[in-house]
């Protein structure tokens, strides 16, 4: 078992009107991959920002030197919606910001730093976009730019706020695949998501948050009707088929009304609308067929 690199003990937080988080105990382990899920306003982003150190808890402690070990190097990837895309900055300049905390006083980057930035951009497949303004990128390229900024810092722990929000299905697939690759290289990853089917179900460990930790475990352990009822306060249907987990609300609200009418009531297809592709390359139609063929 990998040892913890970040521990939260009895953490509570408030913005002034009631507690957003209450008595959160959590450990992030070396090389772990965690997804924080929960309804809107549950405190997912707040929990992430407490981990990154930009918010201080009202109560409780954060230990970044667990058992006296070296403090993990953090890197943060913001939500795309939170970025000022009109800011006058190029892709390479964004990436080089990842080195701004290294103590160098002079304003310009060294040749070595520039080479490093180009290398990271090349690894992420956007090496030819270095001089482009960040506004002139697609959503996937924008996300990769900020991941590159994080990687140039050589992080032990990567924190991402809704990394698949606002991107299309193919880009979401690419980003998840990239994050799995980075995790296999040893980087611990924590991300927030509200997408249970397309994102959360593909993450090894889930932390269910709704003002407190409701449940913690693998998707198989926590994506259950009982936990989801506790988490969202609503009845949800969960289908686990050959290791693939699908979640839908009990009223089939996520289903296109026209499409829902074509399925017999009570079948899984009646509960699941647009089925996302599997992380390892199954396309949406293929997955949909499997569900329709279910009992």
């Amino acid at each position: 078992m990998h040892h913890p690199i970040l521990e939260l003990s009895g953490v509570s937080f408030t913005y002034g009107n009631g507690a957003v988080l209450r008595d959160v105990d959590l450990a992030v382990r070396e090389g772990g991959f965690y997804g924080i899920v929960g309804p809107s306003g549950a405190g997912k982003t707040t929990l992430l920002r407490i981990m990154e150190g930009s918010l201080r808890p009202a109560r409780g402690t954060i230990d970044r030197r667990v058992d006296g070990r070296k403090e993990p190097r953090l890197a943060v990837v913001p939500q795309l919606e939170a970025v000022d895309w009109t800011f006058p900055i190029t892709v390479e300049e964004v990436v080089l910001l990842g080195t701004a905390g290294n103590g160098r006083r002079l304003p310009w980057a060294t040749r070595g730093m520039r080479d490093q930035a180009r290398t990271v951009l090349g690894q992420l497949g956007i090496g030819d976009l270095a001089t482009r303004h960040i506004r002139n990128l697609s959503g996937g390229q924008q996300q990769r730019t900020f991941i590159a900024r994080a990687l140039i810092r050589k992080p032990d722990l990567l924190l991402l706020d809704e990394p698949t929000s606002g991107v299309d299905v193919a880009t979401r697939h690419d980003i998840l695949h990239l994050l799995h690759e980075l995790n296999h290289e040893g980087i611990a990853i924590v991300l927030t998501t509200h997408d249970l089917n397309a994102v959360a179900a593909h993450i090894p460990m889930l932390i269910c948050v709704n003002g407190r930790i409701v449940a913690e475990g693998t998707p198989e352990q926590v994506l259950t009707t009982d936990v989801l009822r506790d988490l969202y306060g609503a009845d949800m249907v969960v289908v686990n088929r050959e290791g693939m987990i699908l979640v839908g609300d009990a009223f089939g609200a996520t289903v296109d009304p026209h499409e829902r009418a074509t399925h017999a009531e009570g079948t899984p297809a009646a509960h699941f609308g647009q089925i996302p592709p599997h992380e390892h390359g199954k396309d949406a139609d293929h997955v949909h067929e499997e569900v329709e063929a279910g009992p």
């Binding site: 913005y15 002034g16 920002r49 990154e52 150190g53 930009s54 953090l74 890197a75 943060v76 913001p78 795309l80 939170a82 970025v83 000022d84 895309w85 800011f87 006058p88 900055i89 190029t90 300049e93 964004v94 080089l96 910001l97 990842g98 080195t99 701004a100 905390g101 290294n102 160098r104 006083r105 002079l106 304003p107 303004h133 506004r135 002139n136 990128l137 697609s138 959503g139 996937g140 924008q142 810092r153 924190l159 606002g166 991107v167 299309d168 193919a170 880009t171």
Partner: protein
């Protein structure tokens, strides 16, 4: 060329020109951060808040820079702290702090009748009455701000662009905000007597906005905004000399004019580019790539 050299034979003009160039450059430089951090309203409010300190210094017989400077630093830190709170709107809280401070300044100066002339100078500036010591202060503040921006360039850039993530990358967004607020306060205090409370905000904001219209590079924006502020300061002085308009007003009107022209030119250029792309798409019958195309 005599139209350039003739005004320089007057000491008041040479001092005014130096104040215009130095003050314009300083405001233009600091203005880049003010504009990009969407702090224009804070810049405007802070100049009014510092007026209270300047008035108190005048009435109580303190050194101007001591009174206005201490008041400015306190106001900047208070505004900075209030801006970080979420319980009340930051704009409302800043409005209360700055206008109350401004009103205090007006009340203090009005209570002593022979200071009425100073009230007008503080409000609208008296660039032609700038002294050598005031020029030295301007030089000192400009040198200090250039040094801070040079040696904290990357940290300030990060904290301006992405303050939420800065702390995780080892950069204190709080200290960066404090440094920016102090630079802004020092800029306003050192240029207040030359440009006046009511015009400082414009000289801070407009050069940066013009520079932003010209470039997509942060480093170039810093250089351009500084140069635009300095050139406008010099040009405003000459316009004032020949057209008989107050120098502060001439500087701001010139900047506003340049901004208006550039805004129209860039808008027309962008429209033409879009039309060209549309024509291309129509001819090739291909949906060309658009900015952020795969974003929902």
């Amino acid at each position: 060329m005599t139209w350039i050299t003739e005004p320089l034979t007057h000491t008041f003009f040479r001092h005014g020109l130096a104040a215009g160039v130095l003050g314009g450059a300083l405001c233009g430089l600091v203005g880049v951060y003010v504009v990009l951090k969407h702090m224009s309203y804070i810049g405007h409010g802070l100049s009014h808040a510092i007026f209270g300190g300047a008035a108190a210094a005048l009435v109580l017989g303190w050194n101007f820079y001591l009174g206005a400077g201490a008041w400015g630093v306190l106001s900047a830190l208070l505004i900075n702290a209030v801006s970080r709170r979420r319980t009340i709107g930051a704009d409302a809280a800043i409005g209360v702090i700055t206008t109350a401070s401004f009103a205090l300044g007006v009340a203090l100066i009005s209570s002593v009748h022979h200071f009425a002339i100073n009230l007008e100078a503080a409000l609208f500036g008296n660039i032609l009455g700038v002294t050598t010591s005031q020029l030295l202060v301007l030089c000192g503040v400009l040198a200090g701000v250039v040094a801070v921006i040079t040696f904290r360039y990357r940290q300030l850039l990060f904290a301006t662009f992405d303050p939420e993530a800065a702390d995780a990358y080892g950069i204190s967004s709080r200290s960066a905000d404090t440094v920016l607020a102090l630079m802004l306060a020092a800029t306003i205090v050192s240029t207040m007597q030359a440009l006046g409370v009511t015009l400082i905000a414009a000289t801070i904001v407009i050069p940066a906005v013009i520079a932003r219209l010209i470039t997509d590079s942060f480093a170039k924006m810093l250089v351009l905004s500084t140069a635009i502020g300095a050139v406008a300061g010099a040009a405003g002085m000459y316009v004032s000399y020949y057209v008989d308009v107050p120098p502060g007003a001439a500087i701001v009107l010139m900047l506003a004019g340049v901004f208006a022209i550039l805004y129209v030119v860039t808008a027309v250029t962008a429209r033409r580019r879009l039309q060209a792309l549309g024509t291309l798409d129509a001819h090739t019958d291909v949906a060309g790539p658009t900015v952020g195309a795969d974003r929902a």
